[in-house]
Every structure is written in C-alpha cells, then in structure tokens.
C-alpha cells in the first residue's frame, strides 16, 4: 500500500540520536495534557519522548488543521486529541493507524458507554477514549424552588421554559452558529427518540436524515420557542458555552445546560472575587432535561479521544504512549486539574475526584445515557448544514426548519449545493 510505503520512507529518514520524539497534537486546555506528556515521557524511560503541539480552540478548526495535515500524509503527526464526531472522517480514508487488538481490549475495559461509541467506526475501535464530556442541567436552587420544580426528579424542557417565563429569568443554552448549536440540536433530537442521521455509515449520496420526524419537530419547537420568546437572553444568537455561563451567573440566571468545566470556572470566579459565594452555594445540578416527559434524556456527548496518525513512523511507540496517556489514574488527575471528566468509569471513584466534583456520579450517569453526534465521515457538512438552517434560534420553526436542513444537507452531500 502506498500509504505504508511512504510512511516507511519517512520513518527511515527520522534517524536522530536519542529516543524518538512523538508529537501529540492537543486541543487547548489548562496545561493538563502537556503535564501528562511529561509524565509519560518519564515513565517511558527513554523509549520515547512526547512533545505537545497545540491546536486551535474551536472544535471545527481543530478538525480543519488535522484533516489538512493528514490529507498531506504528514508523518509528523503521531498522536492526536480528537473530538469524537470528527473521527469517522479521518478513519474512513485510513488516516488513523489501526488499533492493535490487545491495546483495544485493554483500553475499552471499564469505559463509559458513550465514550466507546464515540471511539468506534464501522464496529472497530479506531481511537482510545481519553476523557468524556457531557452536559448537565445546572440550576439556581432558588429559581427552581420559586418555580415549584422538584429537581430531584427528571425535568423536561417544557417545564424549564415555563419556569423561565414565570420567573422572568433566562435559560442558559448555546445558540451561537457553531458546533455547540449542533450539540444542542442533536441532544434534543436524540432525547425525543430520533436521530439526525438514520444511517451514519451510508455513502454521501445515500445519506438519509431523520430530522423530518416528530423528534426533529420537537427539537425545533423547543429551540424556536426559547429563541422567539427571548428566554435565552439577548445574547442567545451568539451565546457559546462561556456566554451561557456568564448569563447563568448573572441576576437573571436560572437553568443552564453546559459541560462540567463550569463548576471549576465558577469556583475559580469565587476565589477571584468575581462571583459571590452565595451564588455558588445556590447552584445545583441534574441530568440533562427530557424532551418527552418520562422518557430518558440523551445528553450531549463530547470529550477527546487519542488517535494515532497512520503516517507516523513510530505507530507502535505511539500506541504505547497513547495507552500511557489514557491510563485511568491520569484521567482522574486530569479531571481534577483541568475539569474534564474521565472516560474510564473507575476514575469517578477516586476520592480526589469525588471531592473536587461533587456531581461526579451524575456526570458518570449522564455519560452512560449520552448520545454521540452522528458518526459519519460527512459530519462537518451535516453539522454546518444544521447550523446554516437552525440559526438564529428565534427563526427555528418546527414546520420548516427540519425540512430546510434536510434539503440543504442532502444537496451539499451530493455536491449540488454550497454551504
């Protein structure tokens, strides 16, 4: 195979003195991945060195950089921190080195369900689950009480909408035209029992979307209602995770769906004097809200998996390093230091984790329920197509938006339309 041949050639040239250097492309974080790289370099005891190279902040920009380099058959990519939805696009053309069976067996043990699904393509494990993200429902206890909601039982989006309306408060959701909007749409569609894509493994020309369904309409109804009633605040059309958090901490904050990073961020804000301790004490958490009352919600799933570049001259070493990185003890440590939840179930039992994240068990349960975004090589087109037709939230209409998205995405996948 050409791929292997070219990798071999490059490998032959890489004969420097000292241990081989593995380059790990990481998403930006608070320095945790760089620290793990150092630890693993030490543990390797001269077998390899890991060097970290940082990718852009935005998930789709990260994908852009990696896909470009891999398409260029770049031999310098040994390890990559990959956002799960973008994995099939890289796995399909063979840009990811196959996971050795023994490694696959070891790393899939005791991993939360959502993370395993996100690491798999065409029934094969193609990346190693590292950390797994999921959104919780965060709430201000005072507002929930004021609205008479029992937060110990699952709540629905309609209840939240009503509570926000009666309490004259804002809901923290991500309505900006970016990946986070797709996260929201997908979670709503999945929670309503549908799927954005019915057959994710299909070829571009045959992809069938599941938006024109009751589930798609429900999702559109919820987003449209929050948008047009102004329940997401004036910042909704540009609100990303950070903006939702700001809104939630503000005077009119009530409920918010967001990743667990917010817990660390709010604690830091209190230490910094930017946030009253009283606000922090008022905060509670629960599982992602339901769309249909009584049917379990499917929270968003995110996180990072570790992939090994197919063109790396040191695939074996890279897999050794990857196994070191995803070690459950390191995942626990990373959770505490950077606020990103582990993919390994056992890591949640770590006493330090339990202390730093009192909601650790809820996160673990949320990950068991979570639904990944569509696993398709055309994810970028699907996601951008959704954002194009479901933005701004106030313009989302249950009767029109699902159809518009379907038409656009199908036309784009057939090469008949621009995005």
């Amino acid at each position: 195979m050409l791929v292997l041949a070219s990798a071999g050639v490059v490998g032959a040239c890489g004969g420097e003195s000292g241990p081989p250097t593995l380059t790990w492309y990481t998403n930006p974080d608070d320095g945790g991945q760089a620290r793990i790289a150092e630890e693993c370099t030490q543990e390797a005891d001269g077998a390899y060195e890991i060097e970290v190279s940082v990718l852009p902040r935005d998930a789709s920009a990260q994908r852009e950089q990696l896909a470009r380099r891999l398409a260029a058959r770049d031999a310098s990519i040994d390890l990559m921190s990959l956002d799960p939805p973008f994995i099939p696009e890289l796995a399909e053309p063979g840009f990811l080195a196959p996971v050795p069976q023994d490694v696959a067996d070891r790393v899939s043990e005791g991993v939360v369900d959502g993370a395993l699904v996100g690491a798999t393509w065409r029934d094969e494990l193609v990346t190693l689950p590292f950390w797994a993200n999921t959104q919780l429902l965060w709430f201000r206890t005072s507002v929930a009480e004021g609205a008479g909601l029992d937060m110990s039982a699952p709540v629905t989006w309609d209840q939240l909408i009503e509570a926000a309306t009666t309490q004259d408060a804002y809901l923290g959701v991500q309505g900006t035209k970016a990946e986070s909007l797709t996260v929201w749409v997908n979670a709503l569609v999945e929670s309503a029992g549908g799927h954005v894509i019915e057959d994710p493994e299909a070829e571009a020309d045959d992809v069938a979307l599941g938006l024109e369904s009751e589930a798609g309409q429900e999702a559109a109804r919820i987003i449209g209602e929050i948008g047009s009633e102004g329940l997401g605040g004036p910042g909704l059309p540009t609100a990303d995770e950070n903006a939702s958090l700001t809104l939630f901490q503000g005077d009119r904050g009530s409920f918010m769906v967001n990743w667990p990073f917010v817990w660390r961020a709010m604690n830091a804000a209190v230490e910094d004097g930017a946030l009253d301790q009283a606000v922090l004490d008022d905060i509670g958490w629960a599982l992602y809200p339901q769309v249909l009352e009584g049917s379990e919600s499917r929270p968003p799933y995110g996180g990072i998996n570790i992939g090994v570049g197919a063109f790396s001259p040191d695939v074996d070493l890279a897999y050794q390093a990857a196994e070191c990185i995803v070690d459950p003890a390191k995942q626990a440590e990373y959770f505490v230091s950077d606020g990103n939840p582990p993919a390994a179930s056992a890591a949640y039992d770590d006493p330090e984790v339990q202390e730093a994240f009192p909601m650790a068990d809820v996160i673990r349960q949320s990950l068991e329920q979570a639904a990944p975004r569509p696993q398709t090589p055309y994810y970028n087109e699907v996601s951008t197509g959704l954002q194009e037709t479901w933005h701004p939230p106030s313009a989302v209409d249950p009767d029109a938006s699902p159809g518009r998205a379907t038409d656009l995405i199908i036309a784009v996948l057939r090469g008949e339309s621009l995005l």
Binding site: S53, R57, D58, D240, N242, F261, D272, G339
Partner: protein, 280 residues
C-alpha cells in the same frame, strides 16, 4: 504661514482632538481590555477597575508563552525575510524601470499592478495543495514565497516613484567618468536611493506583518504560525472559556512596534505612499 486667529486655533484644537480620538480610540479600547481581570470583562465598562498585568504574564512568561512567543518569532522572521527579498528584487526592477529604456517595461509595471489587486484567497487553495505535496506546508519558506506576492508589487511601484526623482545627471556624470551602468547605479544612485528603499521596506513590512489569510491556511503548528493566526489559538482556563484577556494583551504587544515605527517614521511613510503623485 500666517499666524492663526484665536478662533482658528480653537478650530484646530477641536480637529486635532477629533482625529486623535478617531485614530486611537479602538487601540485604547483593546489596551484597556488587556488590563482587565476575568471578573471585569463582562461589566461593560471601558476601563479596568483594578488593572492587572496577569494577561501579559500569561502570554509572555505564563501558559500561553510558547504559543505567543513562537508566533512572534515566526512573524518577525518571516516578515523581515519577505521584506528583504522583495526590496532587493524591487530595487533592481525599479531602477530598470526608472532609468532604462527596455521593451516590456510596461509589462513589468502592469504585472505588479495586477499582482497587487490579486484576491489572496484565490491562490490559497492551489498553494495549500502544492505546498503539502512538496513539503513547504507549515514552513517559513512556505509563507515567505506567497508573502512576496504582497510585498513585491508595492515595493516596485514605490521604489520606481522614488527613483524617478533621483537626479538623472548624476548617473550620467558617473558614466562619463568611465563607470559602467552597474557601477553608476551602485556608486551614484544607491546612496541617494537608500531613504526610498528604507521607506519601501517599512511599508512592505507592515503588509507582511498584517497577513492573516496565508497565515491560517498554510501553517498548522508553532513551526511557522504567525501572530495574527495565533490569536485564534489562545485559550482560557478550559477550551470553553474565552481568552479575551490574552488576546487583548497579545494584540497590544504586536501593536506597540507598529506605533513606534509610525512615531519614528511618519514622514517617510507618508512620503512613500504619496511620493510619486506629489512630485509627479
């Protein structure tokens, strides 16, 4: 110039203030933001309440140091080289255009004009594709070459305009003294042309320094990523948190040299950009 009346003086004072506010206010705004604490970012005020240098520490000695300093190094290095190459090539070309009569002179000038209006984005795709197949992707050279398309045309035009004003007789005098055309160029013209060349270099440097499209499209690591592209890579405490403070601080750091250069050389820059027309 006749002395100004009191009313005129007041008028000029108002005008000066207006111009200063216009030109400097956005710079002041981002500078103010760069001194804010995270907690002050969302308060909707212009000035920070308790200014902090934490953002500068973050990019210069802290967590974002590697990202920012390597980008700064890349930007300076790549822009300087692209400027130097462009100015050398342009000096030769502009001399020929201003002093010599040769067929195709207009073709050179028209080409320069054509290149300068070229939509950069149009050649990014093919360059990206070519670079990745010949290994120039994410290298200094891979940016220097396209930067020449930005710096070379303006250098040729600016220098040609400068050279046209250099007293023609000096070169002839040198030639009469037995110098060849090349010697005449070196001995008689270069000293006179040096200020023009310097000005041209300044203008060309600003352009290379400003590039964003090539910077984000043709690089992917700290090996070659220039500052404007790196601004999109800063991160807060987690990847979901806005790095407003770091970006503002980095923006100020890269703006300071511009302001200094402008302060020192405003006369030259203005004359470089207007010269041909003024004296034409």
């Amino acid at each position: 110039m006749s002395t100004l009346t009191g009313r005129q003086k007041a008028g000029w004072a108002v005008i000066t203030v207006l111009v200063l506010v216009y030109a400097l206010f956005p710079v002041a705004a981002i500078a103010a933001t760069s001194f804010k604490r995270p907690s002050e970012l969302n308060q909707g005020t212009f000035l920070p309440q308790s200014p902090t240098t934490a953002n500068y520490e973050q990019i210069l000695v802290g967590g974002a140091q590697e990202l920012f300093l390597s980008a700064l190094r890349n930007s300076i290095g790549i822009s300087l080289i692209a400027t130097a190459v462009a100015v050398v090539l342009a000096t030769l070309a502009a001399y020929a255009i201003a002093r010599l009569d040769f067929p195709g002179k207009r073709l050179v000038l028209t080409t320069a004009l054509g290149v300068s209006i070229f939509p950069v984005i149009s050649i990014v795709t093919p360059l990206f594709n070519l670079w990745r197949s010949i290994g120039l992707y994410d290298t200094w050279l891979g940016l220097i070459i396209p930067y020449l398309s930005l710096t070379l045309p303006i250098s040729i035009w600016t220098l040609a305009a400068f050279f046209r004003q250099i007293p023609w007789e000096l070169e002839q005098a040198a030639q009469v003294d037995g110098a060849t055309s090349w010697q005449a160029f070196r001995k008689a013209i270069v000293p006179l042309a040096a200020p023009g060349v310097f000005t041209t270099a300044l203008i060309a440097f600003f352009i290379a320094w400003n590039d964003f499209v090539y910077g984000i499209s043709l690089t992917s690591t700290e090996a070659a990523r220039p500052v404007p592209a790196a601004l999109a890579f800063f991160t807060g405490a987690s990847q979901f948190e806005e790095p407003t403070g770091s970006i503002s601080a980095a923006a100020v750091v890269v703006t300071v040299p511009v302001v200094v250069l402008v302060l020192l050389f405003q006369r030259q820059i203005v004359s470089g950009l207007t010269q041909g027309a003024v004296k034409g």
